[in-house]
Assembly symmetry: C2
C-alpha cells in the first residue's frame, strides 16, 4: 500500500484553516470532527448513518480493541475497516489516554506502561512499539504515538517528567512506524505550562511527524487552560501539517479552536450526551428529559438536514428518553453527530469565503438566543 497520506492547506482566514487530508480510505475535509467508535462501533449507529451525518473519518480506541476482540483477531478478519464495515478513514489513538482514565491500577516505566484490564483484571503491557504494531494490525489510516497523559492540576516537575517520557516514546514510536503505510502523529504534552508545551512541540517537530496533536486537555483543567494552551502553541505548529486537538469538545470549544488554527477534533460528547437525552442544536443544547417537551409537537430543528431532527416531535423524543427506549439514544446521537458535522461544514465554507469570524459570531448568537418556547 502506498504512503497515501497527504495534507493540503486550501485556504486560511485569520488563523483558521481549511484543508484536506488524503488517506487510503478517502479524503477528510478539515476542520473535521471525528465521531468516537471506541469498541469498533460508534455507539448505536449503523456505519451508513455515521457516514450520512457527514463524517469522513472515525476514531477507534487502541486500548479497547487490544483487550477485546484483540488486534491480531481484527487483523486476521481483514482489519478494522472491514470488521466494522466502515470503508472510510480511521484514526486510532494509542491507548495512552485510556490507560490513565479507565485502568484502576497502572505502572508507568521507561520501557512500557503496565495496567490492569478493566474487563477481566489481567495485567497488560503496552510499549510504544506495541502501540504502533496494534494500530498497524488494525489498519489505521492515522496512528498516534503512545504518550503519558496525566490529570490536571499536577506539579510542574510531574508535568515535565511525563512530557519528557512522552517525547522519548515519540522517538521510539517514530522508529517503530518506519516503513509502514499511513500517517503517524506526535502528541504534545506539558499540561497547563506553556513553556513545557512549546518544548514538547519543538522536540516533536525535530522528529518530523505527519501531524501534531495537542493531548492532555479535557482532563480536569480550568476552562481557560485550553484556550491558553492552544494560543501558546498555535503560532509554532507547522503550517503544512494537520493540527489535532484531542478529546475536545463542546460546539463552542470547536469553533474557538478552529479560530486558533485547529484542524481535527474527536469527542464523545455528541454520542454520550445523545444517549443521555441531550441534543445539540443550532439554538444550543436541549435536554429532552425535561417535562416541558412532553406535549411539544415541534421537531428539534425543522431546518436541519438530519431526519432525526426534523421528522420526530420533541414530545416523541421526550417519551422515548423517559421510557428508556434505544430509539431515543439512536435518534439523539444522529441529531448530535449531524449537528457537529454541520458546524464543521459551516466553518469550512466560511473559511473558504473569508468570513469565519462572522460565521462564528452568528453561530454563537444563535446559541445565546436559545431554544424558542412553544407558541
Amino acid at each position: 500500500m502506498p504512503d497515501a497520506f497527504q495534507f493540503r492547506l486550501l485556504a486560511t482566514d485569520g488563523a483558521a484553516r481549511r484543508g484536506e487530508i488524503t488517506t487510503c480510505h478517502g479524503v477528510v475535509e478539515t476542520p473535521a470532527f471525528m465521531p468516537v467508535g471506541t469498541q469498533a462501533t460508534v455507539k448505536g449507529m449503523l456505519p451508513e448513518a455515521v457516514r450520512g451525518s457527514g463524517a469522513d473519518i472515525v476514531l477507534g480506541n487502541t486500548y479497547h480493541l487490544m483487550l477485546r476482540p484483540g488486534a491480531e483477531r481484527i487483523a486476521a478478519l481483514g482489519g478494522l475497516h472491514k470488521f466494522m464495515n466502515w470503508p472510510h478513514a480511521i484514526l486510532t489513538d494509542s491507548g495512552g489516554f485510556q490507560v490513565m482514565s479507565l485502568s484502576g491500577l497502572r505502572k508507568v516505566e521507561e520501557r512500557a506502561v503496565t495496567f490492569r484490564s478493566h474487563l477481566d483484571g489481567a495485567m497488560v503491557e503496552l510499549t510504544p512499539e506495541r502501540a504502533i504494531e496494534i494500530q498497524a494490525l488494525l489498519g489505521s489510516d492515522i496512528a498516534m504515538q503512545l504518550d503519558e497523559c496525566i490529570a490536571l492540576p499536577a506539579p510542574r516537575a510531574e508535568l515535565e517528567r511525563a512530557m519528557r517520557l512522552s517525547l522519548r516514546w515519540a522517538e521510539r514510536s517514530k522508529r517503530a512506524f518506519e516503513g509502514r503505510p499511513g500517517a503517524l502523529f506526535g502528541i504534545i504534552q506539558g499540561g497547563d505550562d506553556p513553556e513545557l508545551r512549546l518544548a514538547s512541540l519543538c522536540a516533536l517537530i525535530d522528529m518530523d511527524f505527519h501531524g501534531y496533536a495537542i493531548g492532555g486537555l479535557a482532563v480536569g483543567e480550568a476552562p481557560q487552560v485550553m484556550r491558553q494552551t492552544i494560543e501558546a502553541l498555535a503560532p509554532a505548529l507547522p503550517v503544512d501539517r494537520p493540527h489535532y486537538l484531542m478529546g475536545v469538545g463542546t460546539p463552542a470549544d470547536l469553533l474557538d479552536a478552529v479560530a486558533l488554527g485547529i484542524d481535527m477534533f474527536d469527542c464523545v460528547l455528541p454520542t454520550r450526551n445523545g444517549r443521555h437525552g441531550l441534543a445539540f442544536t443550532r439554538r444550543g443544547p436541549i435536554s429532552l428529559k425535561n417535562a416541558r417537551h412532553a406535549e411539544d409537537p415541534r421537531p428539534l430543528d425543522e431546518a436541519s438536514p438530519c431526519p432525526a431532527a426534523k421528522d420526530y416531535s420533541r414530545a416523541y423524543l421526550h417519551h422515548l428518553v423517559k421510557a428508556g427506549e434505544m430509539l431515543g439514544s439512536i435518534l439523539l446521537t444522529m441529531v448530535n453527530l449531524s449537528y457537529y458535522q454541520e458546524l464543521m461544514a459551516g466553518a469550512r465554507a466560511a473559511i473558504t469565503a473569508g468570513r469565519f469570524e462572522e460565521f462564528r459570531h452568528q453561530t454563537q448568537a444563535m446559541w445565546a438566543q436559545g431554544d424558542l418556547p412553544p407558541r
Copy 2:
C-alpha cells in the same frame, strides 16, 4: 375518514390463505407478521428500517401507551402514526394480555379490570369501552376488543368464566366501536378446551367482527395445545375475514399456523431475541454469544436481502454482543425482522403458486440441516 377496512382472499392452497387487508394506512399482504412496537417504537429500529424489513403493519400496545405517554396526549399530537413517524398500518391490542402479564395486582370485575401500573403503582381502570376509546385516540387501523386472558393450565370452570366474560366484553366493545373508522377484531378465548373455544367463536361470529383473533395462547400451555386449538377452530373461522393468532411465535409456529389457515401474527421473539444475541436465519437459529463465532469471517447469511445479515461478519456480531454494544441489538433485530418477513413473503408466494406444503417442507429441511460449520 371512510371505513376503509377491507379483506380480500386472493388464493388458497389447502387450508393456507393468501390475502390482502386494505386500511387507511396502506395494504397489508397476508399471511402477515406484525413487529411489536410496544412503547410507540419497535425497539432499536428506525421506522424506515422496520419498513425496509418488509413490514406492512406494526402492533402498538394499549396498556403501555395509556400509561405512558397517555392516549389523550398521543391524540393531541396527531395520533400514533404521526407520533412514531410510521405512516403505514397499525394494529393495537386492547391491553387485556398485558394487564395479566405485567401488572402484579389486578381485579377483574364485570364492569372493568382494575390494575396497578407497573410504572408508578397507580391504580388504573380499564373498561371495554375505554379500551376502544383509547385505541380510537391512538388512531389504530385495527382495534382489538378487551378480553380476559388467563394463564394455562387453568380449571375448566375458570376458563369458561373468563371466556363468557370476554364475550360480554366483546358485545360492549362492539357497541362502543359503532360509527368509528377502521376495524375491530373479536378475540376467541376458552384456553385449551376445544368446546369452549368453539362456543366463543360462534358467539363472536354472531356479533360480526371485521376479523377474528385467537387469544390466550403462548401463555404457558403445552406445545401441542396451540396446534390442537387452531385445528379445532380453523374450519369454523369465517372465510371472508382475517384470522389472527395473537402473540405467536417461532418461525416454525408461523409456518404451521399458516398451513392451518392463519393470516396474521405478532410476536416479540424476533425483536427480543435479537437484543439478546440470537439470530433467526434460513438455517435455523444462531446464538451470536457463542465463542465459536469469535473468528468467523462469514456473514450470517450471504444470500439474505438484509444488509445486516450479509455485510457484517459473525465475528463482528459476536464482538458487539459480548461488548454489550447497542449496534449488536440493532443489527440482530434487523436480521430477525427481515427473516420473519422473508418467511411470510415466501409463504405468500408459495400459496399463490399452489406449492405451500413444498415451501414449508423445504424451509423446515433447511432449519433441520442447521448452520454450516466454518471451513
